[in-house]
Assembly symmetry: none
Amino acid sequence: MRLDEDGGRPYITNQSVIKKPVNTTESIAPHKRERRKQDRPGELLEAALDLFVEKGFAATRVEEVALRAGVSKGTLFLYFPSKEDLFKAVVRENVVATVAQGAAEVAQFKGSASELIEWMMLQWWRRYGATKASGISKLVMSEANNFPDLADFFRTEVIIPADNLVRSALQRGIDLGEFRAVNVELTLLSVMSPLLFLVMWKHSMGPCCPSHEQIDPEEFISQHARLLARGLSAT
Amino acid sequence: MRLDEDGGRPYITNQSVIKKPVNTTESIAPHKRERRKQDRPGELLEAALDLFVEKGFAATRVEEVALRAGVSKGTLFLYFPSKEDLFKAVVRENVVATVAQGAAEVAQFKGSASELIEWMMLQWWRRYGATKASGISKLVMSEANNFPDLADFFRTEVIIPADNLVRSALQRGIDLGEFRAVNVELTLLSVMSPLLFLVMWKHSMGPCCPSHEQIDPEEFISQHARLLARGLSAT
Amino acid sequence: MRLDEDGGRPYITNQSVIKKPVNTTESIAPHKRERRKQDRPGELLEAALDLFVEKGFAATRVEEVALRAGVSKGTLFLYFPSKEDLFKAVVRENVVATVAQGAAEVAQFKGSASELIEWMMLQWWRRYGATKASGISKLVMSEANNFPDLADFFRTEVIIPADNLVRSALQRGIDLGEFRAVNVELTLLSVMSPLLFLVMWKHSMGPCCPSHEQIDPEEFISQHARLLARGLSAT
Amino acid sequence: MRLDEDGGRPYITNQSVIKKPVNTTESIAPHKRERRKQDRPGELLEAALDLFVEKGFAATRVEEVALRAGVSKGTLFLYFPSKEDLFKAVVRENVVATVAQGAAEVAQFKGSASELIEWMMLQWWRRYGATKASGISKLVMSEANNFPDLADFFRTEVIIPADNLVRSALQRGIDLGEFRAVNVELTLLSVMSPLLFLVMWKHSMGPCCPSHEQIDPEEFISQHARLLARGLSAT
DNA sequence: CATGAATGAGTGTTCATTCAT
DNA sequence: CATGAATGAACACTCATTCAT
């Protein structure tokens, strides 16, 4: 390691590296500035999402969030009274609506119950599990102990609605005679646990274990869905 | 879901864990110092397990571990050269041994491959998943990104051996014509993911969601195992 | 030997070194905060130089440096990422600059090689050896084994350039026929060792040995230089 | 880095690694044991010398000294009330007598003054400078500020006698008309400083600077001595 | 005398949070 | 509103020193 790698700079300078847009025409573009102000929370939340998902709650430094959002550390605390509050806001901002959209699509699905189950699982993966946003699920599970109210919020807004979707699909299969009369609650877990495991793994051990890299999530989901379908099959 | 079962005692406890060995035969007992010395590692490991499971790796302070074990911070470092080493010792004491024991028992199992799978899953739960020690698995997944060394250690010492156990059971089923020739790696995930999900849930959302309490993990595991067995069945 | 000369002020001083800039023109001065900010590095470097020279590298606590500069420990790390970097900055500020300046002056020197040697030695003493900053050389030699990185840095930034200055002067004397064709590397040591010995002594035994006080370093250097000149003389 | 490099040892054991000689014949060899006890301080001082020279005062851990001497850490403190006292004892034990022997040999020297000077310098190097013991000179200069009484002791017992030897050689050269009537005190420094510099360098920067490795100390001393002889020559 | 387990003050470094400007 | 300089409480880890045995 070269000791003079700092290239002779005598000391660190904190001088702002934030590039604030130079308002050369302050008088004729007041709206721009206002909009900018209004966007601040959103930009901060976006930056925070990225970093929380990437590094987790503890390892994310608020200064890095602020920098990525293009504001100073102090400004972040202007909008969010603490790191914890920022975290909560991120979760609230980024998880609802995904479920609602899913529900709408399920309603229009044509096909057997077992096809529906497989389709739901794959959709869940493609629309959520495979995206950055799924990091929130991992994060919530990881930090639930430290933020119990957050866990509660997540359960109410996300988990229960999503579970209900699967529950009704299973029930439909049973009612139509396609599935045996299994315990729906238990089978629900058989459907959801591989998905949640996939997300946990992807955001935790995944990056460390290249050995598991050859596994294709969609292929796994498909096989698992078919395994379940066979297992549930009434015939 | 009774996911917080731990023999009835919740692992979050503030009661003193300093266990003075009961001297029933004071005259035969070795020197007090010596006796303490031999007890130290065990006491420290127990305290460390409690706190790691309760708070996670990063949030657990070594001094708190030492204090809970009734010694000073310096004493802890007398037995474990670093916090990471302490953690690794906790894993070895509470997880690695369990895997080894499981492997030995598996070798003596008499029965079909599908019976073996179900038995393994149930044993895994009873011997590990249902205990406080399973918090380690949750911890590792939660903090793997921040402590890749620990994740690597856990993967090498625990995940790979455990996976191999399941892998060989599946392969045996296929070789004996009991199972169809499915992709073993994918099926492995179908076996493990419900177990790991159960553990994650128990140590994260579980305590916050009393609504899932009515679910019995063993019942779920049994049903899931049978679902898989049916799904895998060659006939 | 008056080796502890430093312009009269001993470098071991407890008097406050927090130098509030005298505001002769309060109205023109920038904001108090800004002013402090600009002064910080200098104040910290000054405090660090004092303490490093007084106590050595290992024995100097960064908090003490910060306190002497009138700031908190955290503030120091705002300007210097580590104790080593602080030290390197001190070296750059107090030693490297001196070498560069010396090199510039040497380039303009008119006179014989032997005159140049004597002039360089005297300048080295007046500009560096006799000042507080020369404590850095003593420190580096004293602690090189414990902090090889610092020794390496010092060697690269200070020793090699300074040696090259002397080397070229010797070579010039040989090339011009003024000196005999001696081994330049060995003669370099004959030039440098009295200077470095002087500095070591001043910052170690010097304060303890008033008996050597009657020796004037400049007189010694002059005589040594002339001794060498005679010894090297080609005639 | 392999995380399991500790080979699975669950925790560190402080169990004694000190090999105390097993006294199988305790009853017939009581003297041996007594001698052993009497040797303790000597063995500790020897170990301390090695380590202090090798690592310096601060970086040497008392436990390492004790271990090398074959006793426990507690035993060391039985003989030396503190690390500092151990340090002082080491210096006191290891520097006298060398000078006395040198003085005796000087008295028998036949030859010119300049030959004597060169011979003394070379002998000083061979008998002291080149040996491990010279590390003490480095150590004393390095730690003199922290141990002023040590510096005083060293000056009285070592430096002054050694200086007197050189002083009288120079004076003899002047009295016999071999040398010019130079200032003896200054010339003394011209003789000693290269030697002390050599020792300082050897024990500090030397190990870090392979570039200077090609320099042969004896060759340097010879050339320096001849340079001085020419410089001092009356002719 | 000798031991070695135990201590606890101290060290460099980090980072969420505050607040004067 | 926005800034960023300043803070200070933590934290993992070290090691000279003590003292019960």
